[in-house]
Symmetry: C2
């Protein structure tokens, strides 16, 4: 079994590392804040003091960090992954990040005999914990096949999407579909509440037909209860929408629904809700 | 069994009348264009020459016509339903129409000892044909219980939503949820196509997770194939969004997603697509 190095042991990464350990992999870990990694060390992960130390002692390096600038720093920085990875190793970025950056990392890695995959996920912290993430993978297919067992330890719906950047592009399409739908879910529920409907009965009528969606069924009831605890953070969704909007613009595609959703979420964040869950958008609509 | 009068034997009404006949009801019918009713007459429905003649010979009168102004004319006009219905009869409007108009009809009917229900449907022509419509009902609960067997001959998900207008309000919420989601589905697919993704694989990744929806799974593949044949007409969706937007405004609710979707659909209709299916919105996004 390949020796794994894992960078970024937050809520998502923590669950993923646990599933790798459970599957029998030996896992080196590194995180900016060591305290967050302590429980994993107790459970058998091996702490490394730097990105370079981790990279030098691993064959497959996985990252799930915050923003595209963090991805760029950890891969392309002076003491970053590509400066330290062995020829023949595979590097996998599972952060939701820029498709163009994924292509850049792929090219620079390739020049050094390293295979780079972009493999963002969906399914949230629950999916990370239960090993049921959906994983969308871009890069060379041979590299994908080589590390497929590693993906299988962390996810269920694992799809090779094509050349470098395709994983990120697929995730962007996913977030674009969600963005406008969140407006629709909020507006439908707010309308029903203003009209004085019995909201449970209303959901019984509309959630299984043509208006049905994951967000309506899963986030709708939380909106109505006023439960705005984060499954997925407002601030992270804004990050994703920002990347998606830029990426669409670069391809000459106008996405007015996405633009409107991003604007509304920024309004929400400005109200101090950036650490709430995405369903907090409902706060903009409540009477 | 109550004697039914049915006004409006278009694509929806035709399927509904057939299911009433199958359930053993005797059904009087009337339609503006008699030719469209001919097949139903062959199958056992009894033609009546006017709204008043139909109303006088029926105990439960059902309407599914075009626009709110048609509903108003057929109920409140000089020779309309309320001028001719017997005391103790039930009138049911299944058109998607204005909640305020439904309340007005309810009040005027009540003054004459007639029970009025607003009971719009979702599920399209397929649901009408197969008797699997979702039916959302507003009005007095006693009247709802009395005609419930009639609804059960036409639909599956039959929910009493509350006082007069509640059926229409529920249908408005349904259309509001669909409206913004259609933007999201189109933008996600257009993004994927521009990015050169394998669209079948992309849908495999995104359609079962947080981005999943009825529209993505059912209309997405038609958009990609360029199949814009009507299941639900663009012009009827614009009608519904117009009613919803007015109704929201009357309640002091801002619905920017709905407003944007309506604008985009009007742009589409102006291109000559008003008789296409709602999935034709994708034409605005294709390269």
């Amino acid at each position: 079994m390949e020796k794994i190095g894992f960078i970024g042991t937050g809520v998502m990464g923590g669950g993923m590392v646990r599933n790798l350990l459970k599957a029998g992999y030996s896992v080196n870990i590194y995180n900016r804040t060591k305290a967050k990694a302590e429980p994993l060390i107790q459970e058998g992960a091996v702490w490394k003091d730097s990105v370079s130390a981790l990279t030098k002692s691993s064959e497959v390096i996985i990252t799930i960090v915050g923003y595209p600038q963090d991805v760029e720093a950890v891969y392309l920085g002076e003491n970053g992954i590509l400066a330290n990875a062995k020829e023949g190793s595979v590097v996998i970025d599972m952060t939701t990040s820029s498709p163009l950056l994924a292509q850049k990392i792929y090219e620079e890695a390739k020049a050094k005999g390293i295979a780079a995959l972009d493999a963002p996920v969906s399914g949230g912290d629950v999916g990370a914990k239960n090993g049921t993430l959906s994983i969308m993978v871009g890069g060379d297919e041979a590299a994908f096949q080589r590390v497929r067992p590693i993906f299988e330890a962390m996810g269920k719906n694992i799809v090779y999407q094509g050349k470098a950047g395709s994983g990120q592009h697929t995730k962007m399409a996913n977030q674009i579909a969600i963005a406008s739908n969140m407006l629709g879910v909020c507006e439908a529920l707010a309308y029903g509440e203003r009209a004085g409907l019995d909201m449970e009965k209303m959901l019984q009528s509309i959630s299984t037909g043509a208006a049905g969606s994951f967000s309506l069924s899963n986030l709708g009831p939380r909106m109505l209860k006023g439960d705005f605890a984060p499954g997925f953070y407002v601030k992270h969704f804004i990050k994703d929408m920002t990347i998606a909007l830029e990426s669409a613009k670069q391809m000459g595609l106008l996405t007015p629904g996405l633009a409107l959703a991003k604007e509304r979420y920024e309004e929400l964040a400005a109200m101090g809700e950036e650490n709430s869950g995405t369903q907090a958008l409902y706060k903009l609509y409540r009477a």
